[in-house]
């Protein structure tokens, strides 16, 4: 099924994507090796990479412990965002009373950086997973609610009329018209939510994680002056975020809204 030209195309796109990144790494390597800044403060990418590999190795597999903990917190917080945000967004999209009720609440909550809540949450429930999860939730809920509500309202009235003329009741309209019709927005909201949640999580971990987490790893390495570990941590954040966006959400989009022609393919 897969044609040779498609493989060549995919290869081309990958190279196109990687080239600028590679170029920056090369320049970084040259600058670092020129020793203008002491290497323990500004390590070369090769050194960072080496450090990252070491962190991944037995007996401690330290890096994986940190990464696992961060993933777990993100997944829990993101799950809450989706589980609570999607229903609120749908309600706001469908009913003007819900829209009028939630809009002022969202408007006053939106400007508050979620990490500002962290000290209060820490006082209430202490350091640990739950505090991080709450910060992720408070960050990620907004894009979900706003996008889902916009998505539901963007579904054209004639679509609903068409379904009703075929005998669709409220439930059918909701499940078979509004939900799939709003899917491009829902996915965009979830994507932003996961991305924002991931960034906020790292900050939360620096403040409130007790033993593990990538944010904790970066922050703790400071005490040991381990700049290479810090760099390794920072770069791994990018890699994880990228994989999440590209392979989880990218794949869902390919199989749904892009296949349906609801989203332009580039």
């Amino acid at each position: 099924m897969i044609k040779k030209s498609e493989i060549v195309d995919a290869g081309k796109r990958t190279i196109q994507f990687l080239f600028p990144i590679f170029l920056v790494l090369v320049i970084w390597e040259i600058v670092a090796r020129a020793n203008i800044v002491p290497s323990f403060l500004f390590p070369a990418p090769s050194a960072v990479f080496e450090r990252a590999i070491r962190l991944m190795q037995p007996p401690n597999y330290l890096f994986f412990h940190h990464a696992y903990k961060s993933m777990y917190r993100l997944a829990a917080g993101f799950g809450l965002c989706a589980g609570i945000g999607i229903p609120i967004g749908i309600a706001m999209g469908m009913r003007s009373t819900a829209y009028k009720f939630f809009t002022p609440l969202l408007s006053v909550m939106l400007p508050i950086p979620s990490i500002a809540w962290a000290p209060i949450v820490i006082l209430w429930i202490g350091l640990g997973d739950l505090t991080c999860i709450i910060v992720v939730f408070l960050t990620g809920i907004f894009p979900v609610v706003y996008n889902v509500s916009t998505g539901v309202r963007s579904v054209s009235q004639v679509n609903i009329w068409a379904a009703q003329s075929m005998g669709a009741g409220t439930r059918d309209v909701f499940l078979k018209v509004l939900l799939p019709g709003a899917l491009p927005y829902i996915l965009a909201g979830l994507k932003l939510s996961a991305g924002g949640g991931w960034r906020a999580l790292v900050a939360a971990e620096m403040l409130s994680a007790t033993a593990y987490g990538l944010g904790y790893m970066i922050f703790e390495a400071r005490t040991f002056f381990a700049v290479d570990t810090m760099f390794a941590g920072v770069m791994s954040l990018s890699v994880f975020g990228f994989l999440l966006e590209r392979f989880l959400f990218g794949e869902i989009e390919n199989r749904t809204v892009k296949k349906w022609g609801m989203l332009k393919q580039f």
Partner: protein
């Protein structure tokens, strides 16, 4: 009651509009879209509503469909007053309105599935309609991959497949190019002959009206009312270039032409005011 009236009453009246009036209001401004539409469409009749663009004919169709409520008057379909959209009235829109997340066959089977037909049975019937509208081989295609004409074929098949009692069509060929439109008219003529379904069809094309209609209601410029009814008894498919249609065309144009001019003038005078039609 006269003799002719009694004869007419023997045929079942399927769609009946009584003094339908529609005023659109946005709180500040009111637009009288429909002044008074009173009409009857009998069983198995193909009725066409023709009028100048923006005269409110689509608005009237949407009232029959149950999408809009009339300001006063009422529409009765099969003896029941229309209150909301329902499965007894199939609709075909100008802009197709297919569900992009469903394949061609799933779009067509959708109405059947909502009617609790088993999946297997629904797909079987849907397949029949895929063939009827000439889309064999495109069952599993998604709508966005189809041309405008093909999309409208899917929309027509979708509306016919679940067998509603009446069919409402809102300028279904309005977005198609002239060539495609010609084929669509021919094919729809065949479907009409096969299914003999009571239909209310909205258009501003005299050619479409003459090709398809048993009865043509000519609407005035806004605020609209029925100003003339023309019956055509020729068999379908029809060749409207035939000389016998010239007389009918003249009869329609005489009335319609004036209304089109009125509407044009109205639009020039108040260019910001839009009618009730959603385009």
């Amino acid at each position: 009651m006269g003799n002719a009236e009694t004869v007419l009453n023997k045929r079942r009246c399927t769609i009946e509009a009584q003094k339908v009036k529609k005023i659109f209001s946005d709180g500040k401004k009111e637009v009288l879209a429909i002044e008074d539409i009173t009409l009857k469409v009998y069983e198995k009749e193909f009725a066409v509503l023709i009028g100048p663009s923006g005269c409110g004919k689509s608005t009237f169709l949407y009232i029959v469909a149950g999408f809009y409520k009339p300001t006063s008057g009422k529409v009765i379909v099969n003896g029941k007053e229309v209150k909301k959209p329902g499965r007894d009235r199939g609709i075909v829109f100008q802009e197709y309105v297919l569900f992009p997340w469903m394949t061609v066959i799933d779009n067509i089977a959708f109405g059947l599935r909502l009617g609790k037909t088993s999946k297997e049975e629904a797909l079987k019937i849907a397949k029949k309609y895929v063939d009827l509208v000439g889309l064999t081989g495109f069952e599993n295609a998604f709508p966005h991959t189809l041309s405008g004409g093909m999309k409208q074929r899917v929309a027509i098949a979708r509306a016919f497949a679940y067998n509603p009692e009446v069919m409402l069509m809102d300028e279904p060929f309005g977005s198609l190019d002239a060539q495609t439109r010609k084929y669509m008219i021919r094919d729809l003529s065949e479907i009409i002959e096969k299914t003999a379904k009571t239909t209310l069809f909205v258009t501003h094309s005299v050619e479409e009206a003459m090709s398809l209609a048993d009865k043509i209601f000519i609407l005035s410029a806004r605020p609209s009312k029925v100003i003339k009814t023309v019956e055509i008894k020729e068999e379908r498919p029809r060749d409207v270039t035939d000389p016998k249609f010239l007389e009918i065309k003249k009869e329609i144009m005489e009335v319609l032409g004036k209304e089109v001019m009125k509407m044009k003038k109205m639009e020039e005078e108040i260019p910001t005011e839009e009618g009730g039609e959603f385009k």
